[in-house]
């Protein structure tokens, strides 16, 4: 029954050169790898009304890797994350300066529809938010249905594939018609991840995805994030430094809206260039 064909990683050209194993201690290069970056953020400033939340941030987010954004509360890490798929615009009176290039295109160009951007760049939130009136299956497939997909066989296949990728299939395969909110907190969060990947985005943005979960559920989510990075670019905001250290390849440290340091996670955690980074990492403030 466990047919491997269905779980084939979706989409996108396979990576030809075997990338150096990042997670296993060997240090990745400090500069982004050869592959074209997923995002190039250029001199980005973000304003909420008069308040400047992000100031003059420039960084390159590598594709198919996990990039963590860390920093103390209120440093703008969520805003920076949300600016990558224009979710921050849901707040009133936002304004940006600078550019965000995604796969080479400026996502803030006037002709770009944020709806299209968000279909390519999915998001998972701090608190799990399945749609309470929908079943588990409906929750996973809602994005595809929004896109007009009606082919039942295709939907069924994608349902299983997404739930497998979110490491939830075995737990729910007999309860697909049950409400999404009948699951436990950790399962709900994985359901939300399944919902986000069902539409086959190119990037997953995660806003403190495990901060509301217990340690066991957190470990599952972290493991899942690691597996997802084989196929997706993952950008994760976390206030949990151990989490950033455990599961990311690159780390950006943000303080008061400014990017203090961006480097490979190993370097940030063992040999940061900036004094402020070191102070934060070692717990002297934050």
């Amino acid at each position: 029954m466990e047919s491997a064909a269905i779980i084939d990683p979706p989409m996108i050209t396979p990576v030809s050169l075997p990338q150096q194993q990042v997670a296993s201690g060997s240090e990745p290069a400090d500069v982004a790898p050869e592959r074209p970056p997923a995002f190039a953020v250029e001199r980005l400033s973000i304003f909420y009304g008069e308040k400047k939340a992000i100031e003059d941030v420039t960084l390159t987010i590598p594709s198919k890797m996990i990039t963590a954004i860390i920093g103390p509360s209120g440093c703008g890490k969520s805003t920076l994350l949300r600016s990558l798929n224009r979710m921050h615009e849901l707040a009133p009176n936002t304004r940006i300066e600078g550019k965000v290039l995604f796969a080479g295109d400026d996502i803030y160009a006037p002709e770009v529809d944020p709806v299209v951007i968000r279909r390519r760049i999915g998001m998972v939130f701090q608190k799990s938010n399945p749609f309470p009136t929908m079943s588990i299956a409906e929750n996973v497939l809602v994005g595809l249905k929004l896109n007009g997909v009606r082919d039942r066989a295709f939907l069924r296949e994608r349902l299983e594939q997404s739930l497998r990728m979110a490491a939830l299939w075995d737990e729910v395969k007999n309860d697909l018609h049950k409400p999404g909110i009948s699951l436990s907190g950790g399962q709900q969060q994985r359901l939300c991840i399944a919902r986000a990947i069902a539409v086959e985005p190119e990037v997953l943005l995660m806003d403190e995805p495990a901060s509301a979960l217990d340690p066991i559920a957190t470990a599952k989510i972290e493991e899942l994030i690691h597996e997802l990075s084989a196929n997706y670019t993952v950008v994760i905001v976390t206030h949990n430094m151990q989490q950033a250290g455990r599961c990311s390849d690159y780390t950006a440290f943000l303080y008061l809206g400014r990017l203090i340091e961006f480097a490979s996670t190993t370097k940030i955690f063992t040999n940061p260039s900036e004094r402020q980074t070191e102070d934060y990492i070692t717990g002297r403030f934050g």
Partner: protein, 310 residues
């Protein structure tokens, strides 16, 4: 030594309990009074009171069916008109309208609720009825005249006019309750939909309306409760003719209107008792509608929660 401050809490508990019981008692008292006041009519006419259409005080023949029909149909018309309008307004106010425009519109809607019923009735007689008679009604007759609902002579005063005026009166309550309901939908739900690349309409549909549908249903029932009992303005425009006609252009009569119109004329015991029984029927219908709504809400709730236990 006094026991540690138990007395204050006890007084507080019994006082609030008494107040709560008083409300319940009031409902039963009203029902009981209505039943007692109409006991003679109930005994004399029995079930015929609900099932016959003759309303003839001189011959002492009383049948409430046209009034029941009138109340039901005028309320139904009111709901058909006001529910889409109210919910659309509430959606606009919570999801789409620019912030600066929201409060003024909300205030205006609340002002509509503050207009005394009799003034709305006057406006109905002198402005709405002539306009309906000259423009929308002939238009409706031209297009839908082949159905029984929009045929026959147009007088102006009519079941349809009654329904429209009730719609105006229940619009504010449904709108403001719906707005509160929609405002209580967590932003996280909207964000979930936006993050999937949903458009504004799709966000409203999958994240907001479906989340809020139970509450919105409650808002509609609240409006229905008002509609069933609405008296003054309806009395002024519905035509006050106890008859059952398929045509919405024909005059009708409602339970509330007949009580208001005829209480002063009720000279005989049976007449007065018949009016009391009308009151009892209206009381019963309103309570029934509420109970039914709660039952419906329960089944809606259980479809959401079914299988919540693993």
């Amino acid at each position: 030594m006094a026991p540690p401050s138990g007395l204050g809490d006890k007084v507080f508990k019994w006082f609030t309990l008494a107040m709560a019981l008083a409300v319940v008692a009031l409902v039963f008292l009203v029902g009981w009074q209505l039943a007692r006041g109409s006991s003679l009519a109930i005994r004399r006419f029995g079930f015929h009171f609900l099932a016959t259409s003759t309303w003839d005080p001189v011959a002492e023949q009383f049948g409430a069916l046209p009034f029941i029909y009138g109340t039901a149909i005028s309320s139904l018309i009111a709901l058909i008109i006001s529910v889409p309008l109210s919910i659309a307004t509430a959606v606009y106010l919570t999801e789409l309208a620019p912030l600066w425009i929201r409060q003024p519109i909300v205030s205006l809607i609340e002002m509509l609720a503050a207009i005394p019923s009799v003034i709305l009735g006057l406006w109905g007689i002198f402005v709405m009825i002539p306009w309906l008679r000259d423009h929308p009604f002939p238009f409706l007759k031209k297009i839908f005249g082949w159905t029984p609902f929009f045929s026959g002579p147009i007088y102006g005063v009519s079941m349809l006019a009654g329904g429209i005026i009730i719609a105006v009166m229940i619009l504010p309550i449904i709108t403001s309750v719906s707005r509160e309901i929609l405002r209580s939908v967590p932003n996280l739900q909207r964000e979930a939909a936006y993050a999937l690349g949903a458009t504004r309409w799709e966000v409203t549909r999958i994240a907001v309306l479906s989340y809020a549908k139970k509450g919105l249903f409650g808002a509609v029932i609240l409006g229905l409760g008002r509609a069933l009992g609405e008296t003054m303005a309806v009395t002024m425009v519905i035509g006050n003719t106890p008859q059952i006609r398929a045509s919405l252009f024909a005059p009708g009569y409602t339970l509330a209107s007949v009580i208001a119109n005829e209480f002063t004329e009720a000279t005989t015991d049976v007449y007065l008792q018949a009016l009391f029984e009308i009151g009892l029927v209206l009381f019963g219908i309103t309570i029934l509608a509420n109970l039914l709504a709660q039952l419906l809400l329960k089944t809606m709730g259980s479809t959401i929660k079914s299988g919540a236990v693993q």
